[in-house]
């Protein structure tokens, strides 16, 4: 219990810190509007060039809703962990994080929970409300509860991926390249930029065995389900739970080995 308190203290500090960055939030909302406008015209032309209004089982409207919500999820999911770890390793600031009486992985994770929650409230929720008001396409029922569970799992999976990629920064100096590569791969294979339904068969196969779709496609499909039965969502949640555990173990292990590397050889 008292152990939990030290983690929640990090969440609290993160929220207070986040409240100080109003400008950053405004800039981000502005950037999103531009991004979403581009998406809108892009997909409109894709659908306009198609002979039928339904492409790969999705209408223009459902595609757009899917992508808008994916962007909203991206906004609170992307915490630039890789970037921060890389910078801390290079500047040596990581030394100060390592003298905390906590495991570094948990320390960093809980430091991010504050901003994540704040971003969720300030970008995801408003987007959600706007989409719902305009389209009335998101069912408001039990799916929301499943969505919450699913999104928490997604945050955990995403953090493990980020933490693992961030750990690579202990070995390499090209943080920027690593970060971009990670982002491109995650955003593509998770269905955040192009809905997975549009993937050609080969690529879809690859995406289905990778953990990334558990980050975006999983929670989004649940969100858009109309009063789902438990048996509808269970396969998705099970897959997410599987990846959450697997990647947790992998990222912890990889970090342990790598930390030994720096403590033995110097970073």
């Amino acid at each position: 219990m008292s152990k939990m308190r030290k983690y929640l203290a990090l969440t609290r500090a993160g929220i207070i810190e986040e409240l100080g960055f109003r400008l950053a939030t405004i800039v981000m909302i502005f950037g999103n509007i531009i991004y979403l406008t581009v998406i809108y015209f892009l997909w409109r032309s894709i659908f306009a060039s198609s002979p039928t209004p339904v492409v790969n089982g999705m209408t223009f409207e459902s595609t757009l809703i899917y992508l808008v919500l994916a962007t909203a999820i991206f906004n609170f999911m992307e915490m630039y962990t890789v970037w921060e770890m890389g910078r801390n390793v290079q500047s040596g600031k990581i030394v100060l994080d390592l003298v905390r009486p906590m495991e570094y992985r948990s320390y960093l994770f809980w430091s991010y929970t504050g901003p994540t929650i704040m971003q969720f409230l300030t970008t995801f929720i408003p987007t959600f409300i706007i989409v719902e008001c305009v389209t009335k396409a998101i069912p408001l029922g039990i799916n929301l509860l499943y969505f919450i569970i699913s999104i928490i799992l997604a945050v955990m999976i995403n953090y493990s991926i980020d933490f693992m990629v961030g750990t690579i920064c202990l070995y390499s100096e090209s943080i920027w390249g690593i970060n971009i590569m990670k982002q491109v791969i995650v955003l593509l294979f998770s269905g955040a930029t192009i809905p997975l339904a549009f993937f050609p068969e080969g690529l879809a196969k690859v995406a289905s065995v990778l953990p990334f779709k558990a980050v975006y496609d999983g929670p989004l499909s649940i969100l858009l389900m109309n009063s789902p039965e438990i048996c509808d969502v269970l396969p998705i949640l099970e897959l997410q739970a599987f990846w959450a555990v697997m990647l947790y173990l992998l990222s912890v292990g990889f970090w342990k080995i790598s930390l030994r590397q720096i403590t033995v050889n110097g970073g």
């Binding site: 308190r5 003298v99 030994r260 403590t263 110097g266």
Partner: protein, 336 residues
């Protein structure tokens, strides 16, 4: 009295890649196994008692920060044994960290955009400090430094001095057994330095905290340390009382003279060297300044002055106590 820190034959080697120049070299480095070994700490043994303030000195690159990182458990020594508060820090890093405090002068451990008091509250939870101890500590701090104006200021709005002071307060907040201060007074003005020295002395006195202090400022050492340890190139050169060092080097002065530029020739310097080396004086030059380190037991400053004046005209002069760097250089070249 019990030992806070024990080091037995601690050695730390780093393996560094021999880097090659240019793009081709960088690509070659990717696959290179061409390592060289740097010995940052070389067979150092130390025993530090609870409540001591030890000055840990040495020139740049001597291995001071590396030793501190070993003592905090961040680095694992290549060989040797180490105990801090009865535990091996690298084996037990997180629990060791509960009982130590650390300040690395160049960077802050505080939360950049939070007011100081929020950082303190966070540390209170992280280190699980009891309410009573926490409040007592804040009262204690307030009795030594002017705490109130700092508490509500975000760290990023603080001056370097205020930030360093805050960092030091933060490092003692959880009443650690040992605090490591790595160049805590770097870049501070005289008033802030003396403030910080008073603070460290007061906390050490009140809480009996062991303090390991790394600094290039002899003033810090004079104000705080009864004992100093000097290392250079990873090897321990000296471990003794300040008193002892003062006795040995108390009679040393550095005399700096500005010579008319037309007379600053190599011949002039050689003639000085020939004249004064029998008295153990070492000479260095920078621009038009000549610095002579004089042992007053062997020759009087006045005699040196008049000796120099015979061959050159002096435009300006300074007489200083011997500096840390000088002492260390002496110890290194002459032993003690």
């Amino acid at each position: 009295m019990e030992n806070s820190i024990v080091l037995k034959n601690i050695t730390k080697e780093f393996k560094v890649l021999n880097r090659h120049e240019g793009l081709k070299g960088s690509i070659r480095d990717l696959f290179s196994r061409d390592y060289k070994t740097v010995t940052a700490v070389d067979n150092v043994s130390l025993e530090i008692k609870k409540g001591e303030i030890v000055g840990y000195l040495g020139p740049n690159g001597a291995g001071k920060s590396t030793t501190i990182k070993i003592m905090t458990g961040i680095l694992k020594p290549t060989s040797g044994e180490i105990m801090v508060n009865g535990k091996t820090p690298w084996e037990d890093r997180t629990s060791n960290c509960e009982k130590i405090g650390v300040v690395f002068g160049q960077r802050s451990q505080l939360w950049w955009s939070l007011p100081l008091v929020e950082s303190f509250k966070l540390l209170k939870d992280i280190y699980m400090i009891e309410d009573k101890n926490y409040n007592d500590m804040l009262d204690f701090y307030a009795s030594i430094v002017d705490l109130e104006p700092l508490l509500h200021k975000p760290v990023r709005q603080m001056s370097l001095g205020q930030r360093t002071l805050s960092d030091i307060l933060a490092s003692f907040l959880h009443s650690p057994e040992v605090v490591f201060l790595d160049e805590p007074t770097i870049g501070l003005d005289v008033a802030m330095k003396s403030n910080i020295r008073d603070l460290i002395a007061a906390i050490n006195e009140q809480k009996n905290t062991t303090v390991i202090l790394t600094t290039h400022d002899m003033g810090d050492v004079d104000a705080l340390c009864k004992r100093i340890v000097i290392i250079d190139k990873g090897k321990m050169l000296y471990d003794n009382d300040m008193e002892h060092l003062k006795k040995v080097f108390g009679s040393y002065r550095t005399l700096s003279l500005r010579i008319r530029s037309s007379q600053m020739t190599d011949d002039f310097i050689t003639s000085l060297e020939e004249r004064f080396s029998p008295y153990g004086i070492s000479i260095s030059t920078e621009n038009n300044w000549v610095s002579l380190v004089i042992n007053e037991d062997r020759i009087k400053v006045m005699d040196v002055l008049s000796g120099v004046q015979e061959n050159g005209s002096i435009k300006d002069m300074k007489l200083e106590e011997i500096s840390t760097e000088e002492v260390i250089k002496r110890i290194y070249t002459e032993g003690i």
